[in-house]
């Protein structure tokens, strides 16, 4: 059981790599850097495979049937004695504890495998892609740090440790997006990513607190067990709040509406980063977290609905933007957002397994697409605009072919990976009871159509049609080195076969993927059942209700959509030359809106960040900051000093006064106060002795008068 009991080594290996880079990286050869960093990931991958393998043996029928494997290194937050307590919702005292503990179960196994696997491939790819960049060690250090964070996120046995990974991946995303820190756009994008993620993280934090408040623990095992115990009613407001807040976190991390804005900008980072972080792994953390909390979500139908609706809207929203984008990576970015929407749609309708399945297949084909795009960019010497590409197919054949496979997969063409996962989602949505869910299905369906269209548009614009690049660039076009193409091929293979794991029952398969995840996911039905509100029988009946025919019809429909999209793209872009026309451009308002991404960024800049001014007024956070600092300097300081209002008042009355205040020492309150009161007090003493005597006499008269006639 070496691998299983040393499961904590999996995140630690990349951490070690990162630490080595941090301390010694600058002095190391590139080869050493590659060896250390790639090596650590390879080791981690091997460890991961071993661990999953041992886990499946460990949890097979018998003693630990369907149990997660946990190992706790030490108590991270809080004390062992547990005397540091807090009061939970029901008034009990719960110990404040968070372990540095790791957990392996089917859900984390899946993530573990594809994260280490894809990560490994991308590391290898990067050795080629980044070969000529300065800061090579830095890049790999960050990548390893990212792997550490991501693996911590996946393997954590409690929410707090998960949050560590959660924030860690955000940080690495920030660092990697801003890798080219000379470019302001890159650092801007990095900041945006981090801050938007932080907003989500804030939600996550609060969600965590709600959970702790309700359950008295933040361990997944405890929470799940308590949630299943029936102590909490379905629709419990605090659990709804908790899940909604968790979902806010997921929105941030997984780029859902309205927090998706950072992801397209994140393409400023090097392409392998986009592939690893912003396509395959990090962005799916939100999905992971929601799936991980499924026991809670099931208790909160309102949250489920929210997740589903947000997911569907994101899917179609991002897809529509992707229709007209010209930057190859941006198209892929929006496509990622859209696909993530799909995943949330699945989660929201309760099809957790389908959602996870889509994450799994998506990881391969989307990573492949990005890496392919990277290869294209690499061959084009950095050109990313598809309007300047064309006819690359035969010049970089491996890239072309692998990317084509990925496109087929994402478009949902049978029997590529995407077909199975997407179909599962659509089917689950359709078969979900309640009219509104049908609406979501329509949205999903439309998205599928768009997906096929924009992906094939990308393919045709890039690899077919007339070459539109400059001669100089054309001259340099070359296929990428083996270190880059090999991962492409490997991923292409996965993009084909990954879906077969979940070959549906309706097509005569056994859907082993869902079966594998079965023990992790609760459904509303079995919650109800556990709470004793429905009988075993009813639950069984619902299970049996699979309408095989209906499923076939839907499959046909979605295939038709994919075909339609492909066809439209083929018709429009097959022969694209310079100055080709976009079909949507026929309706300029729509086209412009889409091209400018619904002006959302601008809106944010105006309203929320305050980066742009509306007239003279800065709005949003920066405006608030500006206002606050004005307030601080002028009002609070003034008020506290006791003379702020005097300053203000007199400054407006007379500019002379203003000048005097600003020029003199009088900017500050005390001095003004001093002058206001001190001079009269001193003028009282104007040097004439008889005046002094008069004051004395007057004082005496006053006293006598007061005391005698009072």
């Amino acid at each position: 059981m070496f691998f299983l009991s040393h499961i904590w080594l999996i995140p630690l290996l990349p951490a070690l790599g990162a630490a080595i880079m941090f301390f010694f990286g600058r002095k190391l050869q590139k080869a050493t850097v590659s060896a250390v960093c790639v090596g650590s990931i390879v080791l981690a991958f091997i460890m991961a495979c071993g661990a999953v393998w041992q886990y499946s043996a460990w949890s097979s029928p018998g003693e630990h049937f369907h149990q997660p494997y946990q190992t706790i290194l030490y108590t991270w937050l809080g004390t062992d004695t547990g005397h540091l307590t807090y009061t939970t919702h029901d008034g009990a005292q719960a110990p404040f504890q968070a372990d540095a503990g790791f957990l392996l179960d089917p859900l984390s196994s899946i993530w573990l495998l594809f994260v280490t696997g894809v990560g490994m491939l991308i590391h290898i790819y990067s050795t080629g892609y980044m070969a000529h960049e300065s800061g090579y060690y830095r890049f790999f250090g960050y990548l390893n740090l990212f792997m550490f964070s991501m693996l911590t996120l996946i393997l954590a046995n409690n929410y707090v440790l998960m949050f560590v990974g959660w924030e860690g991946v955000g940080l690495c995303s920030y660092l990697l997006i801003g890798f080219y820190f000379h470019r302001k756009s890159a650092t801007d994008a990095g900041n945006k990513a981090f801050i938007v993620n932080r907003i989500g993280d804030a939600g996550f934090l609060l969600g965590m607190f709600f959970i702790a408040w309700n359950f008295g623990s933040l361990r997944f095992a405890d929470v799940t067990q308590l949630a299943h115990s029936g102590r909490f009613a379905i629709g419990d407001p605090y659990i709804t709040a908790a899940t909604l807040l968790l979902f806010v976190g997921a929105c941030g991390k997984s780029a859902q509406l309205p927090l998706y804005i950072w992801l397209p900008d994140a393409m400023e980072g090097p392409t392998p980063v986009s592939a690893l972080i912003h396509a395959a792994t990090m962005v799916t953390a939100g999905v992971y977290m929601v799936a991980r909390s499924n026991a809670l979500f099931v208790l909160a139908p309102a949250s489920m609905k929210t997740v589903a609706i947000v997911g569907a809207l994101t899917a179609i929203f991002a897809a529509s933007i992707a229709l007209v984008q010209n930057d190859i990576k941006r198209v892929l970015a929006y496509s990622t957002v859209s696909q993530l929407g799909y995943m949330f749609l699945a989660l929201g309708v309760g099809a957790f397994a389908a959602g996870v399945f889509h994450v799994f297949t998506h990881a391969f084909f989307k990573a492949l697409l990005f890496l392919g795009a990277g290869s294209v960019i690499h061959s084009m010497s950095g050109e990313q605009d598809m309007r300047n590409m064309g006819d690359l197919g035969h010049r970089i054949p491996i890239t072309h072919r692998t990317m084509f496979i990925a496109t087929l997969a994402i478009a949902g063409i049978f029997p590529f990976a995407g077909f199975f996962s997407k179909d599962a989602i659509l089917w689950e949505t359709w078969s979900r009871e309640g009219g509104a869910y049908r609406l979501l299905w329509y949205v999903g369906y439309a998205t599928a159509l768009m997906t096929a269209f924009y992906m094939f548009r990308l393919m045709y614009l890039t690899f077919h049609g007339r070459p539109r690049m400059s001669h100089d660039a054309e001259h340099h076009i070359h296929e990428s080195p083996v270190s880059m193409t090999a991962p492409l091929v490997a991923l292409a293979l996965c993009a084909i076969v990954a879906g077969w794991l979940g070959w549906p029952h309706s097509l005569g398969g056994s859907d082993r993927f869902t079966a594998f995840l079965e023990p992790v996911f609760a459904t509303e039905a079995n919650v109800l059942q556990q709470q004793g509100r429905t009988t075993q029988l009813e639950a069984g009946a619902k299970e049996e209700e699979r309408n095989t025919t209906g499923e076939w019809v839907l499959m046909g429909l979605s295939l038709a959509a994919a075909g339609l999209g492909w066809g439209m793209a083929w018709r429009n872009y097959r022969h694209a030359d310079k100055g080709y026309t976009e079909p949507i451009a026929a309706v300029p308002p729509v086209y412009n809106t889409l091209l400018n991404k619904y002006y959302v960024d601008e809106g944010y800049d105006y309203v929320f960040t305050g980066r742009r001014k509306l007239g003279n007024a800065r709005l949003g956070v920066l405006g608030l900051g500006e206002g606050s600092s004005w307030f601080d300097v002028h009002i609070i300081d003034g008020l506290v000093n006791g003379a702020g209002w005097i300053t203000r008042l007199t400054a407006t009355i007379s500019s002379w006064w203003d000048k005097w205040i600003i020029d003199g020492i009088g900017v500050n309150g005390p001095a003004i106060l001093a002058r206001m009161f001190s001079y009269p007090a001193r003028l009282f003493e104007w040097g004439l002795v008889q005046w002094y005597a008069l004051v004395m006499t007057a004082g005496l008269v006053g006293f006598v008068f007061y005391y005698v006639y009072h």
Binding site: H83, V164, E167, I195
Partner: protein, 538 residues
């Protein structure tokens, strides 16, 4: 040694100051060496305290290593040289000795004029701060509290920036204004104690017994108790500083020399929070538990968190930015305190330590740049990470620590505070959370403007990276940041007992009957006095 460890820690810096007095002031290097030696010595003598405290941690005594007996200093008024520590003060003392050493080390090249004086005042300041954290006699506490203002005032005033006079005076006046009111409060408690027991004493443990009774005392009642609470509140709130008493802070920070800022942010601000924990909470439990009072405290804390962060966002001066960020961070600390839960309280203490480490480091960071370029305008910089990569890396880590990234120290404190507060009232926790987001915003934006991009200003091209001495100043801070981030358990264990005790005091103050019973149990001589003078005035 065991019995006098605290005194040794307390007076080592003072001895250093005295020794320095006899070094000719022209011999600057000798002065620097001696000062550093004593600062390091101060740290070293405090290190044995760690195992010693650890071994005594589980003892039931509230305060450990008590030295001196009550009233041994000025018997005629009942003031004594009594010092002792519990977990909270232990941590703050260790922080003080560490930061003291670092600040003095960091001043090696920064201070060129009047070197001798500088170190003398600094070492005196060090003793003053340690005294505040050790005193178990209210009077002794007050003396240290005030005495420590003077060296700080001079440090700002002599070695500070262009508006140093203004800043120094403002600092001094604000703090003094708060503390004199506290003095009145102390005197009231003193008489109240006398009225109940017939004994005039400033002993903290004695006042713990009687002060909470003011609230339910028919002769005084809640009104007076609240008034007293506010007398203390102003002193501590100004020191912390809580919104809206914070305006001295940016000025003082900006004008102070680097080491001064480090100490100011790292230790001096903690005196306010420490005061709340040590005095306000056990003295006025009923007042604090009053919804309105607590509501105000919490509101002010939350405003400080958000407001401080917002103001930071728009600062053009790096040091000012860091200063305002302190307001925000200290908002978390006070929030944790007034949540009045063990969790909030221990988080608050931890966060105070964290703030000392992170913000201390941030001021060092700004100071290093200032020393090279003599400006702190953010606009003057850009692309620094090109020329100073090591510096940029350390800065990044410290920024991350400051914004509360997990596995670094800041997160542990903030998380604990937030959870503690949330469990008390989820709305409070919810309001405080945006501060976390804003912290990321202002720090990252600062980082971007200073470190990223190409080097646009030709003056920045020739900057040299950190010297080994400068790196050395950061090493302990980095180690602490990672230690607390990765393995905070020892800290929680140290805090466990005192925070539970305090919360116990606040939430379940001993009933009047219990106190009376305790008084009855005292020797007959005291009892007789009690009988004769209790309620003498009524």
């Amino acid at each position: 040694m065991q019995n006098h460890i605290l005194s040794i820690i307390l007076f080592t810096p003072l001895v250093g100051a005295l020794v320095l007095l006899f070094v000719p002031k022209e011999n600057k290097d000798a002065i620097r060496w001696i000062a550093n030696l004593f600062a390091l010595g101060g740290l070293l003598v405090s290190l044995p305290l760690v195992p010693m405290f650890w071994s005594q941690m589980q003892s039931a005594d509230r305060f450990k290593f008590i030295e001196g007996v009550p009233n041994n200093w000025i018997p005629s008024i009942g003031a004594g040289y009594v010092i002792g520590i519990d977990g909270i003060s232990f941590l703050l003392i260790m922080l003080t000795t560490l930061l003291g050493w670092i600040s003095i080390l960091s001043s090696w090249t920064a201070i060129e004029t009047r070197v001798k004086e500088y170190y003398v005042w600094f070492l005196i300041l060090q003793t003053g701060m340690l005294g505040v954290f050790m005193a178990l006699d209210f009077f002794l506490f007050f003396v240290f509290w005030e005495a420590m203002l003077v060296p700080m005032y001079l440090l700002i005033g002599i070695w500070g920036g262009p508006r140093k006079l203004y800043a120094a005076i403002k600092f001094f006046l604000y703090t003094l204004a708060g503390s004199v009111l506290m003095l009145l409060g102390i005197l009231f408690l003193y008489f109240h104690h006398h009225a109940l027991t017939g004994i005039y004493t400033f002993s903290l443990t004695a006042l713990y017994e009687t002060a909470p009774k003011i609230y339910s005392d028919p002769a005084y009642g809640p009104g007076i108790a609240t008034l007293l609470f506010f007398a203390f509140f102003f002193a501590f709130a100004i020191k912390v500083p809580m919104f809206p008493f914070h305006t001295w802070l940016p000025d003082a920070h900006v004008e102070a020399p680097t080491a001064g800022s480090v100490i100011l942010a790292g230790v001096l601000l903690k005196m306010g929070t420490y005061g709340f924990i040590r005095f306000s909470l056990p003295f006025f439990p009923d007042v604090l538990m009053h919804t309105k009072v607590r509501g105000w405290m919490i509101t002010l804390s939350i405003i400080a968190i958000i407001y401080g962060a917002l103001v930071s966002l728009m600062q053009k001066d790096m040091k000012k930015l860091v200063a305002y960020s302190s307001v925000s961070h200290l908002g978390f600390c006070t929030l944790g305190i007034f949540a009045l839960t063990p969790l909030g309280l221990s988080g608050s203490v931890l966060q105070q330590i964290n703030h000392g480490i992170s913000t201390g480091a941030l001021f060092l960071i700004v100071g290093i740049l200032y020393e090279r370029r003599h400006t702190r305008e953010i606009a003057e910089y850009g692309g620094i990470s090109n020329v100073m990569p090591v510096y940029a890396t350390i800065t990044m880590i410290m920024f991350l620590s400051s914004m509360g990234l997990p596995l670094l120290n800041g997160f542990v404190g903030e998380f604990t505070i937030l959870q503690g507060t949330f469990m008390e009232n989820w709305r409070w926790g919810a309001w405080a959370v945006p501060g976390v987001v804003l912290a990321a915003a202002y720090l990252l934006w600062l980082y971007q403007r200073v470190f990223f991009g190409p080097v646009t200003n030709p003056k920045n091209e020739k900057l040299h990276d950190l010297t080994p001495r400068e790196v050395l100043t950061f090493v302990p801070l980095l180690i602490m940041a990672f230690w607390i981030g990765l393995y905070p358990k020892p800290f929680f264990e140290i805090l466990e007992q005192p925070v539970n005790q305090i919360v116990q005091d606040v939430r379940h103050p001993r009933s009047g009957a219990a106190v009376n019973a305790a008084l009855q149990a005292t020797p007959p001589a005291t009892a007789a006095v009690t009988a004769s003078s209790t309620r003498g005035k009524n």
